[in-house]
Symmetry: C2
Subunit: 404 residues, 2 copies
């Protein structure tokens, strides 16, 4: 039983947060430094980008989470601290600065940065802004969410209440970015908190399993960032019996985790750079779930499908094309395709061939800001959902001169 | 010794061509049906899209080339004849219509179609236009090149003279499309002719080897078409001793073939939908050539690199990012990156980290309509070139409503 609640990352017991403008960004009205702190040491887990080029903060965070525990997350926007000769040193400096102002061990601080790649990051604004940042810690998940935004146009924040072993628990999260796929504004970052008691090992397993069907199923432009990271801290203050293995309690936690991550995935895709529409590909009938994920993701990654969605054009041939080159085995003569939204549903392709349909109705169905591409491979029980967005003039504009 | 000559696919001895408007397209000024005919039976070879969704003409062409010989190529634009229930029947009908008007065996006719996927193609306009098409056969490579164009803005045609075993030979080609990657205007199509005498087996081997470093290294939008096809016909009328195995003569032929295909690749990428720039990634120092191809292609396929090139923005971090997620092993701390063009050359990244450079000079160097991204992995002797184009507003516009 899940109930949405307010408070974001501060909803779970033990967590406070804040975000300030420290001067990394020229725009003085934009918060560019965020901090999330727990009153107790937390089980902690994280997943990182698969890109061989990794932001320095990720390397430091991986060291700090090696023991499975952490107490704070610090993150700046405006600079990715990636491909800088002194990157690791700077990232360590960020953790040290937090330690000096909070008394938290530097090795219990998760460090993240997001912004342009390859531009030196100075510690000065971070050092000068840290006092205010720490002094202002409180029920300010929204400030923290704002402090990590780059080209985001909307804050991404959510929290749920759920029950584990009779105890009421909470889980919350904030995110920035438009997918796993934003090299230069580097990155999707997601910070999750919960007061459920769960061992580091099970927390890590839960997160690793979850991303396969959540963040790994989001795409905006196919470019896997160098700084992607999803981190979760579990304070255990809900008082449930610690989850140390599989079972009912673990499953309840995973369901709550999934509710948060899927919500954030949809918000990230909907806020993809320049996007006017959230595109969901709901695929069923694949040989298995893994095959279904490859196929669904191939559809929402296709530049031509994305451009067609921008034009509200029921160009189902591009959907078949994207399924055809996805790399997995597929009987294309059995594929059915339909488009749906709050405006209705329309079938456009049956058994791999076009069927007569009203272009007018299709246009109407594809016009809302959330549309679904439904694919049935009629080959098995595998299913998946992938989330993307349309490809627009604005995307080109944003990325034609991101640095200038 | 290669010399560029005029005549396109009609430059080699034995070949005539033509293109007419038969009515598949509404625009009466646009030729939409092309024919290339040889006076003798030719050794013939083709390579086809890897997409599991394949255009019906490809299936028929594969049947017709099973014996390694052909005499004619017929191609319409405006309709891909793909994902149509009666597609194969229609494609056979096109070959039959050519046979009736030329006396050529239908099984010696290569059939191709390009245009929208999933819209029924009628034989009527093709039947009615065939008399004029055949009657007008002559030194009209340019008409044939025009007849296969879709969103192309420029004709793509080239021919060279070369020598095999003391005999003067010729090879020519025409192409349409903007890469292997155009689902809905389905396709890149390339038709090559030569009067060199070469066995079907060696011709096929030469083509299969060539595409690895030519057409397979072009990308416009990452979408692999359902109708891509490269076909070559060799009349043998040059009178050289037939090439039936490896050796000097075979190598001379491969060099001439490569000169034609690489020229067409560059023209196709430069004419990518909405493109304002030809982007070449010249990569060296990779472990081997295959690794180099994967890396170079990953760079020119990156939406963010392409958008940066549109903005003439020296955003080298996106180049490193694309190398990092390409999937091949790589020591990112050794990578050097430079940009070059007729305006000069500028180094922007050394050993995986940024170096100081003049943004002004970089902007000037990235502004011409042909720019090169130079990457040195400093790890081995592998090298490759890949060709792409920038991502522009116009690309989004063209593909936002291709069908309407």
């Amino acid at each position: 039983m899940l109930t949405e609640i307010t408070g974001g990352v501060c909803a779970p017991q033990g967590f406070t947060a804040n975000g300030v403008h420290c001067g990394i960004r020229k725009n003085r009205t934009k918060r560019d430094l965020s901090l999330i702190v727990s009153s107790v040491r937390c089980s902690a887990a994280a997943v990182y980008t698969q890109n061989l080029v990794k932001g320095a903060p990720l390397l430091v965070t991986r060291e700090h989470l090696a023991d499975g525990y952490a107490r704070a997350i610090v993150c700046n926007s405006g600079n990715a601290n990636t491909c800088n000769a002194d990157g690791v040193e700077i990232a360590r400096g960020m953790a040290q600065t937090v330690a000096e102002h909070t008394g938290i061990d530097a090795s219990d601080v998760v460090v993240a940065s997001t912004g342009v790649i390859g531009q030196p990051l100075s510690l000065d604004p971070i050092r000068s802004g840290m006092s205010d940042l720490v002094a202002g810690l409180g029920d300010h998940s929204d400030y923290a969410a704002e402090g990590i935004m780059t080209t985001d146009t909307a804050k991404k924040e959510i929290a749920f209440r759920f029950t584990v072993g009779g105890k009421e628990c909470r889980i919350g999260g904030i995110a920035k970015g438009s997918g796993m796929i934003h090299p230069n504004m580097a990155t999707m970052l997601v910070f999750l908190t919960t007061d459920a008691a769960i061992s580091p090992a099970m927390l890590s397993q839960a997160l690793r399993e979850d991303v396969k069907t959540s963040f790994n199923m989001v795409s905006v432009d196919g470019d896997t960032s160098t700084n992607d990271m999803v981190t979760v801290l579990a304070s255990g203050l809900a008082g449930n019996e610690e989850i140390t293995g599989p079972g009912e309690a673990y499953d309840a936690f995973c369901r709550a985790l999934s509710a948060v991550t899927v919500y954030l995935c949809r918000r990230i895709a909907a806020d993809g750079e320049g996007a006017t529409r959230l595109i969901t590909c709901r695929l069923c009938g694949a040989a298995d779930d893994i095959t279904a994920r490859v196929l669904a993701k191939s559809v929402i990654c296709s530049s031509l499908v994305k451009a067609a969605m921008f034009g509200a054009d029921a160009n189902w041939g591009r959907v078949l094309c994207a399924l055809g080159y996805s790399g997995v085995a597929l009987d294309v003569t059995r594929i059915d395709v339909a488009f749906s939204s709050k405006e209705g549903r329309i079938e456009v392709c049956r058994d791999g061939a076009g069927i007569a349909f009203s272009e007018e109705d299709a246009k109407r169905i594809l016009t809302p800001d959330e549309v679904v591409i439904e694919v049935d491979c009629k080959a098995g029980a595998g299913s998946a959902e992938a989330w993307g967005c349309d490809l627009t003039y604005e995307y080109v504009k944003i990325n034609g001169d991101y640095r200038t």
